[in-house]
């Protein structure tokens, strides 16, 4: 009986030791693909101009011609996955790799905004990940051409306009005034 108990304890200890040794070394591969959309129709050009970065550079993945990528050596727990590209913006993704009861790892990926809460209630994305570009960066401000409205909305132009009105239109108005009223006004000024 005692021997049996000892054996159980021993095997339990062994099992624990095995888990303790194996778990820190165990890392995971996260797979996904960049999917074409209206913003980015041709994925192939991305393969030499973008990379997938986890935890700000801790792990990096290259992108294949069809947009597929894999990032290796990711540990259990929370990570941040970003697609970095010089000309396209991509959504950032929060990865949570956890062990299920049967010892298998499961991954929950959610869209996230930097500096915000981990959105526990946000919908979990399908795995392997499918990411598409959120937008193309527009780096330039178009030069403003000649614009008549803008020209006349300039305060200086408005002042010039007002002076022109005072010079040309006011005397005409004065001429059309009733002579008596004019006299009254002139008297008032005196």
């Amino acid at each position: 009986m005692l021997r049996q108990l000892l054996f159980i304890i021993q095997s339990a200890l062994l099992l624990l030791a095995a888990v303790a040794v194996a778990s820190p070394a165990k890392t995971y591969r996260v797979r996904g693909a960049i999917i074409a959309n209206d913003v980015l129709g041709d994925i192939s050009e991305l393969s030499t101009r973008a990379q997938v970065v986890v935890n700000g550079g801790e792990h990096t993945g290259f992108i294949q011609k069809d947009g597929a990528f894999a990032v290796d050596n990711i540990k259990l727990g929370d990570s941040l996955l970003e697609v970095v590209s010089a000309d396209y913006a991509f959504p950032k993704i929060h990865l949570r790799i956890s062990l299920k009861e049967d010892g298998k790892a499961s991954i929950a990926a959610r869209y996230v905004q930097i500096g915000s809460e981990w959105p526990e209630d946000a919908p979990v994305l399908a795995y392997p990940l499918r990411i598409s570009a959120a937008g193309k960066y527009d780096f330039f401000t178009p030069r403003q051409g000649f614009n008549i409205v803008a020209m006349f909305s300039n305060p200086y132009m408005m002042m010039v306009g007002a002076s022109l009105v005072a010079i040309f239109i006011l005397p005409k108005l004065q001429a059309n005034m009733d002579p008596d009223a004019l006299k009254g006004l002139q008297n008032k000024q005196k």
Partner: protein, 1040 residues
């Protein structure tokens, strides 16, 4: 500290950006490529493989900057490249069937197969970090006939199938050797490595492993070549399909070459020198001979294996190419071709097979190229047999610019025209062709290894009238009145020229034509020797020299305006590159001064000895006979001293060298320099122990030398130093990074900040402020602000969830009274802020940018009541801190600089997405109100706080350019207060100019001078026409 992304925060950011964006606009499309320039680089090649595939010939390279690149063989332009991580060196490159195979990584191993035409990844296999086994082994090779790959990853030999990218089989290597080579021969493969030394008594040797390719079963393993290692000068591995694979070596103190066929444990075969080179040699000459491999991909050899043997006889060095041949059942060696490589010149050789199919079948002869650099030229010859060379060429090249030729390879164009690719010690890559004078193209890859850079102001262009006057009588120009008159003469001349050129209209069309020139091709097709070095700047100070120091020994001066090279100088010690570490401009060009501008270069040779040199900043030549001096030991710190040697008008440099106690040297080491220095030596302090891994920072002052010592000061003189204080880091903490002020970042135009109620918060600006970032053993990062003079701790902070690793670096910068740093923070369930109500919140992982602003007091209108700033007496600063979430991981931080610092300073980020981002100063204000702003705060113009720093594409200075691997961001003022020059470099280079507060001192680019002239003319015409009409009207009125 970092709140959730609430609606308020978003609104705040939008408001902030909109209020700031009214100040500054983004780039106009026509400015791209006109105010900036970009150079795409790859780094100094480790291995170059010209490869002819389905799409013709391309050149493939793996580099010391961990880049895999494909180059256009006709122009040298990069067709595509893949940038690997900083800690992921690429070990192997092999090309087969339009696929490139790489093996990379130091601790982790990655095997990747790339599409050779497009550069996109086809498949990859990775092996996680093996903490117990880091033998730096790693090799990979394609198998014959299919697309599978055999690779050494971690401690295993694996066969990877292209379809599944999973191991077909795996063999444990049991730490038997550091495997670096795989040879595939039919059904079996051999992994060769340097055998692991189990006990000290055992000699170094090679370990060979034979595996069956189909099953992965280990056929045999054995040791060969006692005392040898892979990569040694006396050992080669050669192979061919017909003859099999061999290891050839000569043991030390042995004159016999041993030849071993892989897979045969016995017998081993030996051969004497005479049989190989067909010349009788004296034993001592045989002992000095070396052998090298010739074929870039020996696995492709159809017929005979070859190698090259270099020996010296009667003082003459000769290289012979040897091939194996078989008569009946006996193998032997014979000479194919021999060429002289004497007079101390470097002989390099490569081998290639002509491309064309017709030729291939007619002549299976491989060709060999020999390149010799001597005096001021490089000569090359291509041989196909031991007769006259088939092609020869020579081009003028000065080795003082990029060093001697150290490597050569040969390739053929699609028309079977031979091309020779030479590589120099300084990092130049040049393609040579028959019947052309200069190189076909060249790439200067030294700049991808830049370590420091300094801006050098150029004198404004003197008017030609001034030049003419100076030529006849230099003293005339000294009179301000004469200069004033001469300037007017010149202005009148240019006005007439402008009018005759059609009011500059023709000029402007010329400008647009030049700006549309392809930038990439310009950066590649650069002339090796510039025709006219840059000696004058422009009126606005946009054109300066940017002088780079590189770890390949090259010091190069480039124009900031377009990147054209002005000069280059290669520093070497006995033919090996000196690692240049610091560049200082120590004498600027002074108007009316005959003294040449100087740049002082500090470098280190392979043995750690320091060299200091003064170069003429306009020509790159040593300034005088004693301009280059070697110090007796290596340096630990180098800094500019705040004093100028009045005799030579040269700024002094302080060099701390190793010794029992740190020793202080002055450069230039002259009596006049020493006298000038000791006049101010009381104010000079420095600290040591600021390197990574240190646990103590020590502060020193400099002891005054005796008058006699000062008056006889020479290059061997040193001043002793005295330790003033020591700052021990708390137990369990080690230093990660020390940050200090750089390039005058402590200068300011305003002593304080004026608050909304007109009171003033005085800035705490201490030029001796040092920021330390430490790694805590219990996790997290510690931050310490230290005063370098007194060693006092001014402020400290802890970031509990932060992490700094090689791949997640700490970046810091000090500017005026602010310290800005960026670090990675793991997502946490920590309280939002220190005064939170206990509510816990989970925040995402990400980089945070922390800003600490130092004030003399937290009370307005309160400041230290003394005329001089004393590190010992002043009260501790009041520190206001705020954190923001960074838009992305950054690899470098910088700030803009302007002449008087009236313009606000933008904070510059080199981002991992290969952009240079500039964010306005206002966003980094730690006093941004977190609640609704009060009236005073509104009056002060504070923008409401929002945690995220947003990546606004309009603020990306590098716009559509992919500026990869930014490691340094530097800035210099121009003559316009609004505008500063910005340079970013590391791998790629990008230079631009920016106006953080708008171009308030320039006419807007949309301002039309033509419109102004036309309007004025119209008014004049209006007056001329209207005048008589009005006069007539008045006369008529008078008559009425």
């Amino acid at each position: 500290m970092i709140g959730s992304l609430s609606l308020k925060a978003v609104l705040g950011t939008t408001l902030a950006l909109s209020s700031i964006s009214t100040l500054v606009h983004g780039l106009f499309p026509d400015e791209a490529g006109r105010i900036d320039w970009y150079r795409e680089q790859m780094g100094v090649p480790k291995k170059i493989v010209p490869y002819t595939g389905g799409n013709g010939t391309s050149i493939f390279a793996i580099t010391h900057r961990n880049v895999l690149a494909s180059l256009n063989p006709n122009s040298g332009e990069i067709i595509w490249r893949q940038v690997f991580g900083d800690s992921e060196p690429i070990n192997t490159l092999q090309l087969r069937d339009d696929q490139a195979l790489t093996h990379s990584g130091a601790n982790e191993s990655y095997v990747r197969v790339w599409d050779a035409a497009t550069g996109s990844l086809k498949w990859e296999f990775s092996h996680p970090e093996a903490p117990t086994y880091k033998p730096s082994s790693g090799a990979a090779a394609f198998l014959d006939g299919n697309k599978d790959v055999l690779a050494v990853v971690g401690d295993s030999l694996v066969r990877l199938s292209a379809d599944q990218s999973k191991p077909v089989w795996e063999v444990s290597l049991n730490r038997t050797a550091t495997y670096k080579r795989i040879v595939v021969q039919g059904d079996v493969a051999y992994a060769i490595g340097d055998a692991t030394q189990t006990s000290k008594a055992r000699q170094q040797r090679l370990h060979v492993l034979e595996v069956n390719l189909a099953t992965g079963s280990l056929a045999k393993q054995y040791d060969i070549a006692n005392g040898m290692s892979l990569g040694s000068d006396n050992l080669v591995v050669i192979e061919s399909k017909e003859y099999g694979a061999y290891v050839v070596w000569r043991e030390e103190k042995n004159i016999v070459w041993m030849i071993h066929r892989l897979g045969m444990i016995k017998p081993m075969w030996d051969i004497y020198h005479a049989k190989i080179v067909q010349v009788e040699l004296m034993p001592e000459d045989m002992l000095a001979s070396t052998i090298s491999e010739l074929d870039l991909d020996p696995g492709l050899n159809e017929n005979v294996p070859r190698f090259a043997l270099t020996y010296t006889k009667e003082g003459k060095t000769k290289t012979v190419v040897v091939e194996m041949f078989r008569t009946d059942d006996k193998l032997d060696m014979r000479k194919v071709v021999g060429f002289r490589s004497d007079n101390g010149v470097v002989a390099s050789f490569g081998s290639a097979l002509p491309v064309n199919e017709a030729n291939k079948s007619a002549q299976k002869q491989r060709t060999v190229v020999s390149v010799r650099s001597y005096n001021n030229s490089v000569a090359w010859r291509i041989y196909s047999d031991d007769k006259a060379p088939t092609h020869t060429g020579e081009f003028a090249y000065n080795p003082a610019t990029y060093g001697p030729v150290t490597g050569a390879s040969l390739y053929y164009t699609n028309n079977d025209e031979p091309r020779v690719l030479v590589q120099t010690g300084g990092g130049l890559l040049a393609a040579l062709a028959p019947n052309t004078d200069g190189p076909l193209w060249s790439r200067d890859e030294s700049l991808a290894h830049a370590t420091d850079m300094a801006f050098m102001e150029l004198p404004p262009p003197a008017s030609s009238a001034e030049h003419a006057a100076k030529a006849t009588d230099p003293s005339v120009v000294n009179s301000p009145l004469v200069r004033y008159i001469l300037r007017w003469v010149e202005t009148t001349k240019s006005l007439t020229m402008w009018v005759s050129s059609g009011f500059g209209l023709l000029d402007s069309t010329d400008n647009t034509a030049s700006s549309s020139a392809d930038l990439a091709s310009r950066s590649v097709a650069e002339a090796l020797v510039p025709t006219s070095p840059l000696t004058t700047g422009d009126h606005f100070g946009f054109r300066k020299l940017s002088i780079f120091g590189t770890s390949t020994g090259v010091v190069a001066a480039l124009s900031t305006q377009d990147g054209t090279r002005s000069w280059t100088h290669w520093f070497a010690d006995n033919g090996t590159s000196v690692k240049v570490e610091h560049i200082f401009v120590t004498r600027r060009t002074q108007p009316l001064s005959e003294d040449a501008a100087l740049v002082t270069v500090v470098g280190r040779n392979a043995r750690g000895k320091t060299v200091v040199a003064d170069l003429d900043a306009l020509t790159g030549l040593p300034a005088s006979e004693n301009a280059i001096q070697w110090l007796a030991s290596g340096h630990t710190k180098v800094f500019e001293l705040p004093v100028v040697d009045t005799a030579t008008n040269q700024q002094l440099i302080g060099i701390i060298t190793d010794g029992k106690e740190p020793q202080f040297r002055i450069w230039p080491s002259t009596a006049a320099g020493a006298k000038a220095f000791f006049a101010i030596s009381d104010t000079v302090f420095f600290d040591l122990g600021g390197s990574k891994g240190s646990i103590q920072l020590r502060g020193y002052s400099i002891e005054r030398s005796s008058e006699l010592e000062i008056s006889s000061w020479n290059k061997d003189s040193v001043a002793s130093t005295k330790r003033q204080w020591a700052f021990d880091l708390p137990e369990g903490e080690i230093l990660v990074k020390e940050t200090e002020y750089r390039n005058g970042a402590q200068n300011t135009a305003l002593l304080g900040r004026v608050l909304g109620d007109r009171s003033v918060l005085y800035k705490y600006i201490n030029p001796h402020l040092v920021t330390l970032a430490t790694l805590r053993s219990e996790g997290g990062i510690g931050i310490y602000f230290i005063d370098r003079v007194s060693g006092r701790l001014l402020h400290s902070a802890i970031h509990k969830n932060a992490r700094v690793t090689a791949k997640q670096p700490f970046l810091g910068i000090q500017t005026e009274n602010r310290v800005i740093y960026q670090l990675w923070q793991d997502g946490s369930f920590a309280p939002v802020s220190s005064n939170s109500t206990g509510k816990h919140q989970a925040t995402t992982s990400g980089y945070i940018t922390v800003v600490a602003e130092l004030f003399e007091s937290d009370k307005p209108d309160t400041r230290e009541d003394s005329k001089a700033f004393s590190s010992y007496d002043i009260l501790l600063p009041s520190v206001v801190t705020t954190a923001f979430t960074a838009p992305e991981a950054a690899s470098a931080l910088g700030i803009t600089r302007t002449g008087s610092h009236i313009t606000t300073r933008d904070v510059l980020f080199g981002l991992v997405s290969n952009k240079l981002l500039s964010l306005p100063d206002q966003l980094f204000d730690p006093r941004r109100p977190k609640e609704a702003p009060t009236k005073d705060e509104q009056a002060e113009g504070l923008v409401p706080y929002a945690a995220p720093l947003v990546l606004d594409p309009k603020r990306v200075l590098s716009h559509y350019n992919t500026v990869a691997g930014i490691k340094f961001i530097s800035s210099a003022p121009t003559h316009l207060e609004s505008t500063s020059l910005v340079a970013s470099f590391g791998l790629d280079m990008f230079f631009t100019r920016t106006s953080p507060s708008g171009t308030f001192d320039q006419l807007s680019p949309s301002f039309s001078k033509v419109n102004l002239v036309v309007t004025t003319l119209a008014l004049v015409i209006g007056c001329l026409l209207g005048g008589p009409m009005v006069r007539r009207k008045m006369t008529n009125q008078a008559w009425e």
